[in-house]
Symmetry: C2
Subunit: 188 residues, 2 copies
DNA sequence: TTTACAAACGAACGTTCGTTTGTATATGCT
DNA sequence: AGCATATACAAACGAACGTTCGTTTGTAAA
């Protein structure tokens, strides 16, 4: 008879789940413990504070998007191709890591100023990649939009960041089909 | 020496402000009282519970969007014209009532099941107006999109609902210009 | 078989939460 | 002028919060 034991990664994963579903302030350490079959106090064998957990989940989300953007950097030759790669990568991250993404998008604002600044900077850099791809696309003729790259990046990311609010991973729309619809809408 | 007196509307307005900024669970009744120069307990002269306040703010948001959709119903003759009216009305609501809108979009999920169901139904009806305008636009030729009305409504509303996350009312972009950019992006 | 350690418990800490109660005081109405 | 009502205070309630503490448990290495 072996007793179930947990690692810090288990706690962080559960935190991502509950923070995404109930919000950071709507989740208690006892809720979180219950999710793992533990008492709330037992979590402190794995983490130093509740905020520590929020930092871990949100920074993981930031890493995922950053990695996706770097992977798209050397894709294709035109701005449009790179933008499509960025969109495809973004959708992949959202679908594969829904909890971290939802926490990253909706709960990062509750971080203390130091960690929040880091996240804001990472988000700005990520958005800059979209601006750059769009700017290149407008310049090389692969994109024909009536708006500037800055506004274009905001509107494309508006669509992408809303996916977590309506997309059902068990629904009929697989990630590739989703990318195709979005790409058709923005580039068609 | 006259003592400052408040109405229920004052309390609801302050609740909208703080719920939008700090979230429902991140706002205490004492925070809310402090915002008005009152003790937390004094708020109970005006409301029956904290959730009562959330209901009031969120239902106000739902009403605003509903009224906007009804105003767009008999605008123009083509689907595209009606969609543009819906977009214009939506932007107007967001800009003029940022706090209620932010609370409506981000905090409605914390309502109890009864009130939440009502809000979900209102949101569905609102989205249906967008679907209908888009469907008409595809049929009458005023819109030329490669996607179906359902997905089109989701993507347009993704853009509109994200406005609260980045729009600065004191910035250089006035609401009319914002509508023009968005319309150019989705219909151009 | 002993030693060591990480994981979890269970009780308790001080604080904050939403809310209730009783009381005082202004204001509007007659 | 006097009274009812609305508004706000001040104190307090029990529950829940994040966290700490001393201790127990199970497992693995020596």
């Amino acid at each position: 008879m072996t007793t179930t034991r947990h690692s810090r990664a288990d706690v962080v994963a559960a935190a991502g789940r509950l923070f995404a579903e109930r919000g950071y302030h709507g989740t208690s350490m006892r809720d979180l413990g219950g999710e793992l079959g533990l008492l709330g106090s037992s979590l402190y064998s794995h983490v130093t504070s509740k905020e520590d957990l929020l930092v871990a989940v949100v920074e993981r989300g930031a890493e995922l998007f950053d990695a996706s953007a770097r992977a798209a950097e050397d894709v294709g030759t035109s701005g449009a191709e790179r933008l499509r790669a960025l969109i495809s990568g973004h959708v992949g991250v959202v679908v594969a890591h829904l909890d971290e993404v939802r926490t990253f998008l909706n709960e990062a604002r509750f971080l203390d100023i130091v960690h929040r600044s880091r996240i804001v900077a990472a988000r700005d850099a990520y958005e800059a990649e979209f601006r750059r791809a769009i700017g290149d696309g407008l310049a090389d003729g692969s994109l024909d939009w009536p708006i500037d790259p800055k506004m274009g990046a905001i509107l494309v990311l508006s669509i992408l960041n809303a996916i977590e609010r309506w997309y059902d991973p068990d629904g009929p729309l697989d990630p590739a089909a989703l990318v195709q619809r979005i790409w058709g809408f923005v580039a068609g």
